[in-house]
Amino acid sequence: MAKLSKILTEPLNLNNPVTVQILGICSALAITVKMKPAVVMALSVMFVLSFANVIISLLRNTIPTRIRIIVQLVIVAALVVLVDQFLKAYLFDISKQLSVFVGLIITNCIIMGRLEAFALGNKPLPSFLDGIGNAAGYGIILVIVSFFRELLGSGTIWGFRVIPMSAYAHGYENNGLMILPPMALILIGTIIWIQRGIFKELQGRS
């Protein structure tokens, strides 16, 4: 039981997929301009990753080693297409928000990474928890980054204005750099720096 909860909680901090494993950076740059799409993206990744993990884990003893990457890709791609189709039919507004980002899930290295590293060698339940945990770890970083980018880049949080219009009248300006991808990279770098400063055990590992 302790082992299972460790599988679930370790990716949140000490084994975070973004800041420790440095995976999934590409999508973390692309979708963190505003908080809402970032959260929806994190939830979609959670769905796809946990189910792909379970499916691969169930099939793990039948998959021929030589084509395992192809099998993983087909399953991930099929899940993503299904999610996309369901969103378009039943949650049209969310699907509009995500638009191109849904396709990005397929190329999210976290998903392939977890399938390779965990689901191929573990039972379905731990694999499921590993999927939830890693997607949550990814989600936390997205939320932190998008919080700062939206606040400083657009003056809003979750679409609501927090920096009052009167501040703009007095010469305050949104930081245009925050909207562009390089700033996300700098923010993630800062998060990694702070995290490694607090948790010394991470320092020796890289």
Partner: protein, 236 residues
């Protein structure tokens, strides 16, 4: 019997069965969900057309209000003549965009809202990353812009994607697409800010230059397809 998971034959069969099963599942999902998706798209279209004449509503109310306010809708060709037998809501602008001008089938919607007759012309073009489209609503004189709605598939958030924002679209209201001699000049999207009181220009988006240019081209080329129709109606 123990199966050799690594053998060539097994690998081959495994791959084939997997691909067929996945393909089946996906096509089933696609066929089952298609009608729902199409209904959503159509409602969204109706919602956008209503928004262009200045009537904001929820997507679910759109079909009913559409029936109420859109009095006429038909499809025209490039010379401005009606093509009978086509449903204007079912015309795919993307398909029309890729056709040569002479073969285009262009939908037109005529609304009556708050006692005014308003013409709505759908437009479609290229942004920076993908397609952009919109609806241009003109007053009865077929010259003054009553309102516009633009949308896009994947322009950069905060930059090109701003074409979908009210502040950008508001600029178009009251602008004119014909000059004083009756020539079609469309609307220029000017980088660095449009001159004040210019009836044919609006401000571009800083950081969204390529999207702004695409939008300008769309307003010139695609909207230009309706010019013969507009001239005919204005002549009457």
């Amino acid at each position: 019997m123990k199966i050799n998971v690594q053998s060539n034959l097994y690998t081959f069969i495994y791959a084939s069965v997997m691909v067929i099963l996945v393909a089946l599942a996906l096509s089933l999902a696609f066929i089952k969900l298609k009608p729902l998706q199409d209904a959503n798209m159509q409602k969204e279209k109706q919602q956008a057309i209503l928004a262009s004449i200045g009537l904001k509503c929820e997507r679910e109310q759109a079909p009913e209000l559409f029936k109420q306010y859109i009095k006429q809708s038909f499809v025209i060709n490039i010379s401005g003549n009606k093509i009978p037998g086509l449903d204007p809501l079912k015309i795919s602008l993307e398909e029309q965009y890729h056709k040569p001008l002479k073969q285009r089938q262009l939908p037109v919607f005529i609304a009556e809202y708050q006692g005014q007759k308003i013409y709505v012309f759908p437009v479609y073009g290229k942004g920076l990353w993908g397609p952009i489209w919109g609806y241009v609503a003109l007053d009865k004189d077929l010259n003054t812009i009553h309102g516009v709605i633009f949308d896009h598939k994947g322009e950069t958030p905060g930059l090109g994607a701003e074409i979908a924002q009210p502040w950008f679209q508001k600029q178009f209201i009251g602008k004119k697409i014909f000059d004083q001699n009756g020539n079609f000049v469309s609307i220029a999207v000017v980088k660095g800010g449009a001159p004040k009181n210019d009836p044919h220009a609006v401000d571009a988006i800083s950081g969204g230059t390529l999207t702004s240019k695409g939008l300008q081209a769309m307003l010139h080329d695609f909207l230009g397809g309706y010019v013969n129709f507009m001239k005919k109606v204005r002549a009457n």
